[in-house]
Symmetry: C2
Subunit: 538 residues, 2 copies
């Protein structure tokens, strides 16, 4: 061929090199996609994957979590990490799959508020360990039947399956839960984005958990302060607004519903008979025919029709927010602040997925600087702060309006705690470090922060007014004796009695400034001032 | 159990929901990871995946690429995209795999400078199309044997395999190459990050290609201006510095080498017998034993030993940079600038991977503002500019030192073209939009930009000097006649002759300022000035 030059490779030659890649090989080579891009972060991610799984399992089985994390240096930049929970355990035959196959798990195919979602996290932690140290993981699991299954395994990366090295069943110990031991490469640091900080924030967001962390610098106990789990999140069918053509088609082809109309009402969230009939009518399709009889070309009409009829929003009571009480408990127990304001927004919807934003602001006392704690489905997010909808929303708020010292973020000593829960949190990347900036989500976050900021502002202005007032009272008190004496001379009344009267007035007035909102306080202050001013004029 | 509350789910119940997820399902649900996060970008990515594959195939078969891209609106936010190349074609039996399975391709398992790498791009484009419109793709392929294989297919997402709907072999047309037709959801815009901009930048970086784009707003021809392909990149074995424990272990277990020493010398890049023997010695292992006889516990010793011996860097002649000529040709043909400076750094190494940075700066004329064109292995990067090592490096340069107007980036009318080529480009995410900020890479980019900036600065200062000089000459010329006359009176010499002499001197002097570097120009200017000053004083 004229346009070919020397060294040509034919299609046949090229074909020889074309082959499949296992998902394990893919993520082994691209481990930075899951956040394993440096040795410090690696330790954090492994602990996070283990603790997230433990909390999810306990909550799903409605068990108050007791979690134990141990981390010790066993060589140069080499750590042994043990994570143990008191969850329901994993049945024997599933252990190799859960820990030895990427993309295996219980959470991918359902819409439910969970920490994990993809079935990638824990098996990638196994893969990272063996990649960096060559060491297998050890897993102990018991479902509470007196048997403990013990596995030593690696991942066969070429085939994305477990490579079991040791397997035995031990008896004699009554417990339930899972314990996993990793040996991996890492560097331990205690700073802003450390394992310790992650565990601390997890303890704040999950005050119904006991977490013990035995780390390289000592033992840290994060005690349970609430003996009640948040309500259980419900699993919901998808809302048709968030379902795309290809998925709709697959659902239609796989349904066991007998008619198109019943397919619509049974497989989707909040889609009633009237709406289903309307969709069929708009699409020009008989709702009574079997889904199997819908031709390919008519599927598009159905999808289009769903965009033209009025839909009812998905149910929002399926979420499991923390609620004001748990947020307050969490912030109180770990941060010891002077004041806490909490706000729980009503659930909202983006792309057919319900979500809910909660905010807590803890102010003063043990808190010395401004900090944001970001959480998604109760999991702290420590990296990529700048890319996150939570940070962006915080920076778009006019903090000065709430009387905070602020450039883009306040400089007051306070912790801004923002939690978003959803059946499908839109993360910006697979390492799940930042929330994507959907306008609907940004809006809710901002409204929640503003409301909380207002509460703190009211508190602070109350404090400031009271302080100001107390200062004035003090001055007044200082001269009370003198004044009493002068009045005795003037009126003939006993100075002691006059002094008592003055003291009484002062103490009553100072009491007026307690438990007041801003408007009240301001009004009172004004009145008082006016009164006093008036009084002075006389 | 005491710590359980109502609603407990047992491990057995939970086990029922645990199952595997196909890689197609994973990326369908997480398509934003591959960049499909909005309808405008989706069109760009599909064109990009098609064109990247076409260019890779042509180059690998050493064919000068002729690429045709057509995009037309076929419904509301619905586009038909046709991409055709004159590459070697794909053999019949591989067509369903290449387009119908994610993570299938020829490029994952080798270290070689390619545009694509994972076997994800084109199959994800197929998946996005069917997800958003339900439409299959059509593929035509011929290896130049007079037969054209035509497929209509979708991806069976649950199983990550092709679902072939139509399949036929046509005869009677002699050609070779691939044509693929997508019908997908999208929005077409012509702006900074558009399909047109992507194709234009591709044309700049690949001036040995003919690219025709028939878009919604008309036809654009990007003509080939160089009839030679860049040298073919070589495939290299991995360098031991970039190989981690787990991969080393797998290679050791899979090798056909007869001894550990020969395993080291044959499977790794630039590792000779002396180094291999030294590694074995440091590890305390007999280099003559079979790799199969190395015990698990000794593998760690070998890996450790590789970190203790002196290694030779990987070969760097395996890359296929554009070179000064191609960069200049590309910039010239599409941007029509006044001046071009190019810099090709020598190859460097990060984590055992060779890489090379090339920079071109095109200045003035048709260029009206400052812009960065980022490229990795000849592919333009249009998104996530702020996260990219190229942008970050550009902003760390003290542009003022090179006499540019600049805050963080210059405001001069110029295009900064930065190309990094490597056998393994470290992208920050799977959507391959930004290069990770490895210090070694940042350093090379900065050095290359600085060198190019210096060249532009020299040119500009030459221009400025020449302009200044021309201005002076003009003034001098203006008074030449008058001066001549005055001199005639003084010397008695003919005014016309004197004028000619003056003109001659002026034209000679003005010539001196052409083709001069900065130092020269400065020196000359000084001298001339001194001379003139001196002359004027007389």
């Amino acid at each position: 061929m004229a346009d070919q030059v020397a060294g040509v490779k034919s299609a046949e030659e090229l074909a020889k090199t074309q082959k499949g890649v296992s998902v394990s090989e893919f993520f082994e080579k691209n481990r930075h996609l899951l956040g394993y891009d440096n040795k410090i972060k690696a330790l954090l991610i492994i602990v996070k994957e283990g603790v997230d799984n433990a909390l999810d399992a306990c909550e799903e089985a409605r068990i108050l979590p007791d979690i134990y994390v141990k981390m010790e240096e066993v060589g140069t930049e080499k750590y042994k990490i043990v994570i143990r929970d008191n969850g329901p355990g994993i049945v024997k035959q599933n252990i190799p799959k859960v820990f030895g196959s990427l993309l295996y798990g219980s959470k991918f195919h359902r819409l439910r508020q969970n920490r994990g979602a993809q079935g990638l996290g824990i098996s990638c932690a196994v893969m990272y360990s063996q990649l960096t140290t060559g060491e297998p993981v050890e897993i102990l699991s018991s479902v509470g039947d007196g048997k403990t299954h013990r596995y030593k395994m690696k991942i066969d990366v070429k085939n994305n399956i477990a490579q079991v090295l040791e397997e035995e069943t031990l008896t004699g110990k009554e417990w339930h839960g899972v314990q996993i031991t990793f040996v991996c490469e890492g560097v331990y640091r205690e700073h802003k984005q450390s394992v310790l900080e992650y565990i601390k924030q997890t303890a704040i967001a999950n005050p119904f958990s006991n977490i013990v962390f035995e780390g390289p610098t000592g033992r840290f106990d994060f005690k349970r302060t609430v003996n009640e789990l948040p309500k259980e999140p419900k699993e919901i069918p998808p809302h048709i607004e968030g379902v795309e053509y290809g998925v709709f088609e697959r659902m239609l082809r796989a349904t066991s519903a007998r008619s198109v109309a019943s397919f619509l009402t049974t497989e989707f969230s909040r889609l009633g008979k009237t709406t289903a009939d309307e969709i069929c009518k708009v699409a020009g399709i008989d709702g009574k025919i079997s889904p199997r009889r819908v031709e390919d070309k008519d599927i598009g009409k159905l999808v289009q029709a769903t965009k033209q009829v009025k839909l009812i929003a998905p149910p929002t009571d399926v979420l499991s927010p923390l609620g004001d009480k748990l947020i307050e408990e969490g912030l109180k127990k770990e941060l010891n602040p002077e004041f806490i304001a909490t706000v729980s927004r009503s659930p909202a919807v983006y792309r057919g997925f319900p979500f809910q934003v909660e905010v807590g602001i803890a102010y003063g006392q043990s808190i010395t600087e401004f900090k944001i704690i970001r959480l998604a489905n109760r999991v702290p997010l420590l990296y990529q702060q700048g890319d996150c909808a939570i940070t962006k929303s915080s920076m778009e708020i006019d903090w000065k309006r709430y009387k905070f010292q602020s450039d883009k973020l306040p400089t007051e000593p306070m912790v801004l705690f923002v939690h978003i829960c959803s059946v499908w949190v839109p993360f910006t990347s697979e390492s799940k470090e930042a929330i994507a900036s959907y306008p609907e989500i940004m809006k809710e976050i901002k409204l929640a922060i503003q409301e909380a900021a207002r509460k703190v502002s009211l508190y602070l202005s109350g404090i400031r007014k009271a302080e100001y007032q107390a200062e004035r009272m003090k001055t007044f008190e200082k001269y009370a004796e003198e004044t009493a004496k002068a009045l005795e001379d003037l009126t003939g009344e006993n100075a002691k009695k006059i002094k008592q009267l003055i003291d009484k007035v002062v103490s009553e007035r100072s009491g007026e400034f307690q438990d007041m909102g801003e408007e009240d306080a301001e009004e009172k202050t004004k009145k008082t001032k006016d009164d006093e001013d008036g009084g002075e004029d006389e």
